[in-house]
Symmetry: C2
Subunit: 470 residues, 2 copies
């Protein structure tokens, strides 16, 4: 290697020794790093399209696994080393086997985090949590009534499923799409913290059976969309065991918490699930889309989804075809969703995500504390367990109104404050109503670059805009 | 503007006046262009994450439409002008409204190409053609039996659907996933050119009705996966009209042909479809994933998929919420699949795609001719209509064998030739068997950079490897 390259490596190394998140005030480092990556990619494009170069460098999957270490490490890996690894190795053969190996490597860490044996588990990357939930429900139906794949729903009993009233609408949507029917997806009430009430679940299951329905699937939400609530997984797992129901955990939002030993207890019991949806594009900060549907038992996904399209998945290829995973998917062509996650995870290591999640939780706790201290703020859930902090701001003018009038006024406050934010262009927080409550703000702390000062600023802005309203 | 920028613009302009496809031997132009785009993106990242900058520049959708001309032009647009447009305007507000407007602008051209009134049509970008086909079948079921969304398939008649035996397996898969059942998706035989036989379709529909089934959905393939065949759309449309069935056209692969007035006739009748799947990530050269499911009638998609998740799609936002399209999707978060297509299409114009497709068709015809002229090659379909050319190479050693032995030997030839290609690393062509035939090559000409010389080289390689086999 030339000494010019050496010295520019040394320079880059120094620049990226500091944080390179674009918000972190080390723009030179961020820019240099990104430019370096672009140069690697440009070289790749050039070589790949050069008629004098081989169009592929064929390696068998087992050899490929030895050529590149695809495993996710405990400790962070040096970013520059990672980039140089790419410069050194051009790795594509057939359509996408390196990415299949990366999926496997990433999923292995996810299976372990859930508490499953990676030798026995299965999974697939899906275009979003909604479709991941659909995969899970479809597999559950297949396990119970494999004939439905071929003969549909006509001559099997009337199935029904259960999810909390605060769960994501994609569960009901899956039930509609699969031909089970949205109305046979029952909403189980939640307690004041937004958690499914297990007794209510069991009562509903029993009631359904009495009415001649066939319960088959229960979804627990781990990190609900609005309140960030974690359903009581152990209790629900017990109920599912008693009634022999498929136990799905929608951890699209909360899954990342499994990477923090400090906070993992909030998902205790998740290892008893049959399937878990986990969106790295949420808490883990991967760009949209990056979403996994994980299964405790290998095999079902394939049985359920394969349509034996021999022409695509033929068995006489000159390499081990067990690495072709297309037949497990409802999709045919799949966008490469794993590479960005693999690269991030490789460079952060398990340690990096642990810190990242703990830091976000600390910030959320800080924000909650500050809101409790500040006049006019009212929390929807007194002690949020996660990164969702839902609250009203009640301007002083309306603090002493009667409940009914207060409610009517409150309904309009959040939209007005948000409009003010959009005008100023300084901050942005979403709001919504729920069944009982008028419009409230839903603050989600998931950006890694957030600081305590940002949160203080936000509180100040809300007070400022809120107090200035007519 | 500084004169430095001016002069570098002039230089760039000159460099990109020639073709900038990376294979085209103008690497300097390709590289400069990509670097310029990267600089625009870097500046965007920098500004976007600068705490001193506004986090958004809010514009109402109608105003936004005036600020940027999002429409797809007839003639190519100057690339540099497009890039400079991005430099000038930072356009994001709320989550993704610019991209919604881009989807609308791109779909308008697609609706027009299909032959529909854009004022009345509808559509959605889906993660791949398989899911687009699922959207179509789901909407068809909803139109016929809207109650199935809520009550499932139990108390409605037994539905069934039809597709050609050479159609993509995602049609059968959709039937399985939706709870209709894969076995109620009937395969209609095709003729020797791979086209669905309309008489066979109608006979099967009548037979199904006699057996008490309820036909509801017919899929025609426009550009079949293996043979590139176009089903006879007009004839099938007539049958669908007679029997009041939903008429879907899976033009995932062939859709791009609608952009060539010269070749469009192969899809004559497509305007009579109720829904069309069209994958710009195939013929139009957009990167995976980019796939649209188009509907002739507006409204159904929303009725069928909306689950009224008020908290996500609330109606009191400070702008025209008819631009929020989330509720039409089975997905929740969606990857931005449209931007790349919009940019390409904007820069090529309608004219550019017309030329591109005509050029590919010319190459395919050239390849077919050359193969017919060259000893040892045998076409599966004598006169391919599209970009799929399926053939055997029969090495001279086995040309005089008895049919049965020839067949057994042929089965192994294509895999061996492909293995030879992978060893040399010079070319790559896929192969597969079909129900009647031993392994054959399936050449797809879709790369814009292919030249006649490349095709001559490929033929030479196949002969060379084929003749050298033991
Ligand atoms: C005719 C046809 N329909 C549908 C599909 C599926 O498209 P996708 O791979 O985008 O899911 C394909 C893909 O090969 C196809 O050829
Ligand atoms: C709990 C939960 N499940 C599922 C989803 C759907 O995920 P996606 O948007 O990736 O489809 C969400 C998204 O907000 C969610 O919060």
């Amino acid at each position: 290697m030339s000494s010019a390259a050496d010295s520019s490596d040394a320079m880059l190394e120094q620049l990226i020794a500091k944080e390179i998140l674009p918000q972190s005030g080390n723009w030179e480092g961020t820019e240099e790093f990104l430019n370096r990556i672009v140069q690697v990619l440009l070289k790749y494009i050039k070589d790949q399209n050069d008629r004098d170069q081989k169009i592929l460098e064929f390696h068998h999957p087992d050899k490929m696994q030895m050529l590149i270490d695809l495993s996710i490490p405990e400790k962070p890996e040096n970013l520059l080393k990672l980039v140089k690894g790419f410069e050194a190795g051009r790795f594509t053969y057939e359509i996408a086997p390196v990415f299949i190996l990366m999926e496997k490597s990433v999923m292995t860490r996810m299976w372990e985090a859930v508490g499953w044996d990676p030798e026995k588990a299965d999974g697939i990357f899906a275009p979003g949590g909604a479709i991941a939930n659909l995969y899970a429900m479809n597999a559950a139906r297949h396990q119970l009534w494999p004939r439905s794949k071929h003969l549909g729903m006509k001559d099997i009993p009337t199935l029904c499923c259960f999810t909390s009233e605060d769960s994501h609408y994609s569960i009901k949507s899956a039930s509609a799409v699969l031909g089970i029917g949205a109305d046979y997806c029952f909403n189980i009430p939640t307690d004041k913290n937004g958690k499914m009430i297990p007794e209510a679940l069991e009562a509903k299951i029993i009631e359904c059976k009495k009415e001649g329905l066939t319960p088959f699937f229960v979804c627990c939400t781990a990190g609900s969309t609005v309140y960030g609530a974690f359903d009581p997984l152990e209790n629900v797992a017990n109920i599912c065991e008693r009634h022999k129901l498929w136990f799905h955990v929608d951890a699209a939002w909360g899954g990342g918490m499994l990477l923090s030993p400090e906070h993992r207890y909030k998902l205790a019991g998740v290892e008893r699930a049959n399937s878990v949806t986990w969106n790295p594009h949420k808490l883990m900060g991967a760009l949209l889309q990056c979403s996994a549907c994980l299964f405790r038992q290998d095999g079902l996904l394939f049985q359920c989804n394969q349509m034996s399209a021999d022409y695509l998945f033929q068995q006489d290829k000159p390499y081990d075809v067990s690495f072709d995973t297309g037949d497990k998917a409802i999709q045919c062509g799949r966008h490469n969703d794993v590479f960005k996650l693999w690269l991030m995870w490789k460079s952060k290591g398990m340690e990096g995500y642990r810190q990242q999640i703990n830091k976000l939780m600390d910030l959320a706790n800080y924000f909650t504390r500050r809101i409790k201290e500040t006049q006019g703020f009212e929390l929807i859930i007194e002690n949020p367990e996660f990164l969702n902090i839902c609250f009203w701001y009640v301007p002083s003018k309306i603090r002493n109104l009667e409940p009914a009038e207060m409610r009517a006024r409150l309904e309009k406050i959040a939209p007005k404050i948000k409009a003010g934010m959009m005008q100023r262009g300084t901050t942005m927080v979403g709001y919504q109503p729920d069944k009982q409550r008028p419009n409230f703000f839903r603050m989600i702390i998931s950006n890694q670059a957030i600081t305590r000062e940002d949160l203080d600023f936000l509180i100040k802005e809300i007070v400022d805009i809120g107090e200035s309203l007519e």
